[in-house]
Amino acid sequence: MTLVQGLIAAGFVAVAVLLGAVEWVARRPGSAVPTLSDMCALAMSYEVRRLPVGRVVLLGFWWWIGWHFFAR
């Protein structure tokens, strides 16, 4: 692994740590920050003429993530 690749990997780790930190803050009692699950639920509740667009997009995106990392 080159220095550049190491820095990029460290960047992704930093993003993961940041995500974990925000989730930790959100799960503290009385926190005004919503959890990641709540944010996803909000996005999934988006509908266009009763068509669950948010739900289709998020579930489809997560399906694609699994295929992209584990299969393709």
Binding site: I8, M44, L59, F69, F70
Partner: protein, 135 residues
């Protein structure tokens, strides 16, 4: 005379409890961890498994959903930090498009060759999928 509003309570189905779902997800992850990347079996397994979960998530009848929270308040903006950080990093490496600047999936490819790491990540994917299905 008006009848009183009906009070309904959501009863969690026995099979939707963590004591049942976690071992099932663990078993499915162990199977998924045995299938090598870029193989036909891995493609079929993730497509069928993910497709099934998408159908369950869209039906809304098989699994009871948790209530949707109200409008987000300003502190929700904290989520923009990791989201933008990831978008910038992934976007730049994707646009560069070379092995010198690898995207997250390229960085993960060698790690996912190990069956233990692969099964663990598969479990993370399925568990998060199950959370989404129930929201």
């Amino acid at each position: 005379m008006e009848s009183p509003p009906e009070i309904t309570a959501e009863v969690p189905r026995a099979w939707a409890r963590p004591a049942v779902t976690l071992p099932v997800l663990a078993f499915l992850s162990l199977v998924g961890g045995q299938l090598p990347s870029f193989s036909t079996q891995a493609n079929l397994y993730t497509i069928v498994l993910g497709g099934g979960l998408v159908l369950v998530g869209l039906s809304g009848r098989v699994v009871p959903r948790r209530p949707v929270p109200g409008r987000p308040r300003p502190p929700a903006a904290w989520w923009l930090l990791p989201a933008l950080g990831f978008a910038v990093l992934e976007g730049v490496t994707f646009l560069a498009g070379t092995r010198r600047y690898p995207t997250l999936s390229r960085l993960m490819d060698p790690l996912l060759e190990d069956e233990v790491v692969r099964s663990t990540c598969f479990f993370g994917w399925l568990a998060a999928f199950w959370v989404l299905v129930r929201r």
